[in-house]
């Protein structure tokens, strides 16, 4: 069974149709990249999958693990294994990183009927993952994303992914605002998450990220639908020739 199956998805924001009939299937173990110019619907797609309010689904369906995704709220989707790494991670003044991670992890555990994680086990669990991403104890004691640099925010996103161990991770422009060193750390963190039972959807404007997170499939999103699909070489072609021909073709 596919992990994610999007069929004929049409969706609007404030009455404006952004997704115009999108089809996409992701199987466990696969890494898919969606590339597209600004305004093509990349962020709309990630938000709709994660369950953000304010999007109207006009037609089509999304099945996750064979079940209707839209029947689940944002928190239920997350507990079912969908993870969105935010393009713009949100600042949470007054909420420490530790408290945030612990509450999130326990929400998922208790929904599976497991017990809440013991405090000492939790520390070990977090530190092992944090060290790999260069997230210090000090960062975990600070309020979530408050005063974080661009690189720190994205590393903290990937740490959340490592902690929650999702089945489908969606990375929304995770490369934006990163210098090359930060990009490498983040990409290593993502690559470490590649697994036979896990799907990855990498959404990006630039090919650069895909040098480090090498996808199995590349799709071009233009005017709210998949305009072309191919292997990793499609990303290189886009880098060289731009999105022009897909926009022209769709127009």
């Amino acid at each position: 069974m596919s992990l994610l199956e999007i069929t004929g998805l049409r969706a609007a924001v404030d009455g404006k149709e952004i997704l115009t009939g999108l089809d996409l299937t992701i199987n466990p173990g696969e890494v898919h990249a969606i590339m597209g110019p600004n305004g093509s619907g990349k962020s709309t797609l990630s938000h709709i999958l994660a369950g953000r309010d304010g999007y109207e689904v006009l037609a089509g369906s999304v099945r996750y693990d064979g079940a209707d995704l839209f029947a689940l709220g944002a928190d239920e989707r997350a507990r079912a294994g969908i993870f969105l790494a935010f393009q713009y991670p949100v600042e949470l003044p007054g909420v420490t990183g530790m408290n945030f991670l612990k509450t999130a992890l326990n929400a998922t555990r208790t929904s599976r009927g497991e017990s809440e994680i013991d405090a000492m086990d939790f520390l070990k669990y977090i530190r092992a993952r944090a060290a790999k991403l260069g997230v210090s104890d000090d960062m975990l004691r600070r309020f979530v994303n408050v005063g974080f640099s661009g690189g720190e925010k994205k590393r903290f996103e990937i740490l959340q992914m490592a902690v929650l161990e999702p089945r489908l991770a969606i990375l929304d422009e995770t490369d934006s605002g990163l210098d090359i060193d930060a990009l490498k750390v983040v990409a290593e963190g993502v690559n470490a998450m590649r697994a036979p039972d896990r799907g990855l959807l990498v959404i990006t404007h630039y090919q650069r990220l895909l040098d480090y997170i090498v996808p199995d499939h590349v799709h071009v999103l233009a005017n709210g639908r998949i305009a072309a699909s191919g292997g990793k070489e499609l990303a290189l072609e886009l880098e060289e020739k731009g999105y022009g021909r897909f926009l022209d073709a769709a127009a």
Partner: protein, 452 residues
């Protein structure tokens, strides 16, 4: 003239402000006996109160705060009510802080439950009523110097019934290592009583202490607690005053704190207001000594149908002084908050550094905040700012938490607690901050809901 005099006379006949008619009967029962100066002070105060009655909403400072219910309560001065006996301090008050305590029940000192510290020579901590017997001259020297009666009806009413409360006198250089806990308990009587606590803290040069104050009520009877606290901080003195107001749901809690801050002295106040049907904390700080500093912070939580008021007046009356205010309010549906904050910088108060911030979270439609932040600056070389915000919980933050699997009610609760936490962070003393955080959590458990 004739036309307007008729309704005025009618009005006068109808309107005996509460607690004025009963004053002659209660006065003989007040501590201090026949001290002439005290008699004069009380007479002057009751006359001042009677002339204007309860503060009307026509007064700018009371525009959003109706006291009409006090007219219909038929309040009895606590001196004329049946004395109440209690055998223990309520648990939440007992557990608030480790340290010494002075317990007042219905405004009267309660020695059997109190535990006062051993003090160095010259220092005194005890009840005003006792001091009026043993050292009335000390009381006469200090009482009424800072809390103004004129134009302050509730301070006038308190002064008319002045009789008991906490007195602290620290001679130069006295530093109390442990917090002193002022425990105010309203205990039910058959009547709706009026309690008029009067506290006095005199900290001489270089002395320092932490005062924790808790205010609570037993049972659900309506009552009025109308307190006045006067604080005099001489050069280099430091007072941390951390107050929790969790009065009974039908109570009215009115409190006036008047503070004088001397050279290099520090006044550091935090007030948590979450109890009573209507609560109002007025804080007047006059910084008269160079490098004096005042931190006046607080959190107020207004549940459905409740009102929490804060009024601050910080006067910078010297050069190089500092004031900081950080208030956070959480208002539930049909709850109401009021914040009136003012920083006044006098012409000669150069290099004043004064900041004020009031941020409010409105949890539901029908929640209301009236905020009036004010800066009044007459000096030209100052760093001053004020800010006020009011809004709902941030949708983006809620979604972020939900997107990590956290159910919406828990996410909501986390964000509210975090919001209040940023005011609680102003409590420098770690165990106290934890105690106050626990009180906020209990309020959230009751009014916002406990996470599953």
């Amino acid at each position: 003239m004739a036309v307007s005099s008729t309704p005025r006379r009618k009005h006068m006949q109808k309107n005996h402000p509460p607690l004025s008619a009963s004053h002659p009967a209660a006065a003989p029962h007040l501590p201090g006996g026949p001290l002439p100066w005290l008699g004069r002070l009380r007479s002057e105060a009751i006359a001042s109160y009677q002339a204007g009655g309860l503060p009307s909403r026509k007064l700018e400072d009371w525009r959003n705060t109706p006291l009409d219910h006090l007219n219909s309560l038929n309040l009895t001065p606590v001196e004329l009510a049946t004395p109440t006996v209690i055998d223990a301090v309520p648990v939440w008050q007992r557990d608030l802080v480790d340290g010494h305590s002075a317990v007042f029940v219905n405004g009267r000192y309660y020695p059997s439950l109190s535990r006062l510290p051993d003090l160095p020579d010259g220092a005194a901590i005890g009840s005003l009523a006792d001091l009026l017997e043993t050292r009335p001259d000390v009381v006469e020297d200090h009482i009424g110097r800072l809390a103004t009666i004129q134009g302050h009806a509730m301070a006038a009413l308190n002064t008319a019934y002045l009789g008991d409360g906490l007195v602290v006198f620290l001679p130069p250089g006295t530093v109390l290592d442990h917090p002193l806990h002022l425990i105010n308990i309203a205990a039910p009587t058959q009547d709706a009583v009026a309690i008029q606590p009067r506290h006095l803290l005199i900290l001489e040069t270089g002395s320092a202490m932490t005062l924790v104050e808790s205010n609570g009520g037993l049972g659900g009877t309506a009552y009025l607690s109308n307190a006045v606290t006067e604080v005099s901080l001489a050069a280099g003195a430091r007072l941390q005053h951390v107050k929790a107001q969790l009065e009974s749901p039908n109570a009215t809690h009115l409190a006036t704190t008047a503070v004088s801050v001397g050279e290099g002295a520090h006044f550091d106040a935090f007030t948590l207001n979450s109890g009573a049907a209507l609560a109002r904390q007025e804080t007047y700080v006059n910084i008269t000594g160079r490098h004096g500093a005042a931190r006046v912070n607080g959190a107020y939580l207004a549940a459905a149908g409740r009102q929490q008021d804060n009024l601050t007046r910080i006067v910078h009356d010297t050069t190089d002084s500092v004031s900081r205010q950080n208030f956070r309010g959480v208002i539930d549906a049909r709850g109401k908050g009021v914040f009136q904050g003012k920083v006044l910088v006098k012409r000669h108060a150069q290099r004043t550094d004064g900041h004020q911030l009031n941020r409010v979270l409105l949890l539901a439609p029908g929640a209301r905040i009236d905020a009036k932040p004010e800066l009044e600056i007459y000096a030209d070389d100052v760093k001053c700012s004020h800010g006020a915000t009011a809004g709902e919980l941030d949708d983006g933050a809620l979604f972020y938490l939900c997107a990590r699997g956290i159910p919406r009610p828990i996410a909501r609760r986390m964000l509210i607690e975090a919001f209040v936490g940023e005011a609680l962070a102003e409590i420098a003393n770690e165990p106290l901050r934890q105690s106050f955080t626990a009180l906020v959590r209990e309020w959230l458990d009751e009014h916002i809901g406990v996470p599953a």
